[in-house]
């Protein structure tokens, strides 16, 4: 818990960045330029202005969905602030345009808020250090799980070695003792099937961890901090039967979802 607390604290701490200075600079620059244009009476029509601004915003938004989203988010934030400042400046100098401008300001305010949200999320994700999760925590967890499977398999084999030894001497004892030993070894063999089930369950967890690793790769790439994910080899097209079969592979079910042998027997009987 202490570790988690300190991580949250780090994430909440604002990072001093040169970016803040740049934003302030661009805002003040736009204001003075608008003021000059208004003073000279060279403002283009409101419609033309709106079209131009919408086009500019669309262009920036399109960039945000491109591969280098991290950079585009910053551009979106800057553009939204810039346009908002421009519109505010115009409204100040041309009061009749307030209704149309108010709507535009509202849209840009939303965009600005969205960009700020994405920016904050980006910083929080960076504070979690996803590269650390990918390079250290996930491989370590996978190795530990593999070790569990190996250890339980080894233990199961030792148990069975000794059961087989017991079975080996059963011929030299009375029938009653032999039956008791047989019964006991059968129960031990049955109990050893746990290793197969736990192995499959752990296999499911390892698959989930690998899926998380791939998603972290994609996240790092989107944030501009990672390498491009390796293009996957084009899989051989699957037949309908292969797709249907793959959907049936889920491994051991949990709790209520798991069918009992009696339920399966009933289902099989319904075919007769």
């Amino acid at each position: 818990m202490a570790g988690r607390k300190s991580k949250t604290a780090t994430a909440a701490k604002p990072k001093p960045k040169a970016k803040t200075g740049a934003k302030t600079g661009s805002r003040s620059g736009v204001k003075s330029s608008s003021a000059k244009k208004a003073a000279k009476g060279k403002s283009p029509s409101r419609k033309a202005q709106s079209t131009k601004k919408v086009a500019a915003t669309k262009s920036v938004a399109k960039k945000a969905t491109s591969k280098k989203q991290g950079k585009a988010v910053e551009q979106l934030l800057t553009a939204a602030k810039k346009v908002k400042s421009t519109t505010k400046g115009k409204a100040k100098h041309a009061p009749s345009a307030t209704s149309a401008n108010a709507k535009i300001v509202s849209v840009y305010a939303e965009l600005e808020s969205l960009a700020a949200y994405i920016d904050a999320a980006k910083q929080e994700i960076a504070a979690i250090r996803p590269e650390n999760v990918k390079e250290e925590l996930l491989p370590s967890a996978t190795d530990e799980l593999d070790a569990i499977v190996e250890a339980t398999a080894d233990a199961t084999n030792v148990i069975m070695d000794n059961c087989e030894r017991v079975e080996g001497v059963m011929g030299g004892v009375s029938a009653e003792v032999s039956d008791t030993l047989m019964e006991a070894t059968t129960r031990i063999y049955e109990a050893c099937t746990f290793q197969d089930i736990t192995g499959q369950r752990i296999g499911k967890v390892v698959t989930a961890l690998k899926s998380i690793e791939e998603r972290i790769d994609a996240l790092l790439y989107t944030l501009g901090d990672g390498k491009a994910p390796k293009p996957k080899a084009k899989p051989k097209p699957k037949t309908k039967q292969e797709i249907a079969d793959a959907d049936l592979l889920e491994g051991p079910q949990l709790g209520d979802k798991a069918k009992s042998q009696a339920e399966i027997d009933d289902l099989l009987a319904s075919f007769d």
Partner: protein, 130 residues
């Protein structure tokens, strides 16, 4: 008809520990001639090489590269093998799995984890009393 206790039984599972458990349980039931395969492809090769001289196949479902259901379909599609009783022993316990296995021609279906009594009762239902 009495069950031939000397018949060959093929057990198929990718977990070697599971193969060992089933082999030991079969031995306790009186079946000594037990052969093993670790996936469907290897099992199919053994079945074909034998010319169908197996009295029973007990197979897991989830294996690579060939799964148990694929092995079952191959067995049922082969004139020399299609008569062999086939019991699926698997952790896949959804109704869809049981239905798919039945449609593919499975003789019986055991869900893991299982006990020796279940194994014996399913073998009896497929082979007859022993």
């Amino acid at each position: 008809m009495a069950v031939d206790m000397n018949m060959n039984v093929l057990i198929v599972d990718d977990y070697k520990t599971m193969l060992r458990i089933i082999r030991n349980l079969l031995r306790q039931l009186g079946f000594e001639n037990v052969d093993e395969a670790t996936d469907g492809t290897q099992a199919l090769e053994k079945l074909k090489e034998s010319g169908g001289d197996f009295g029973l196949v007990i197979s897991d479902w989830n294996m690579e590269p060939m799964t148990g259901i694929e092995l079952l379909r191959h067995v049922r599609a082969d004139d020399k093998l299609k008569h062999i009783p086939f019991i699926m022993v698997t952790a896949e316990s959804k109704s869809e799995n049981v239905i798919a296995a039945k449609e593919a021609g499975v003789s019986n279906y055991i869900v893991k984890p299982f006990n020796a009594d279940t194994l014996k009762s399913k073998m009896v239902s497929v082979l007859g009393d022993f």
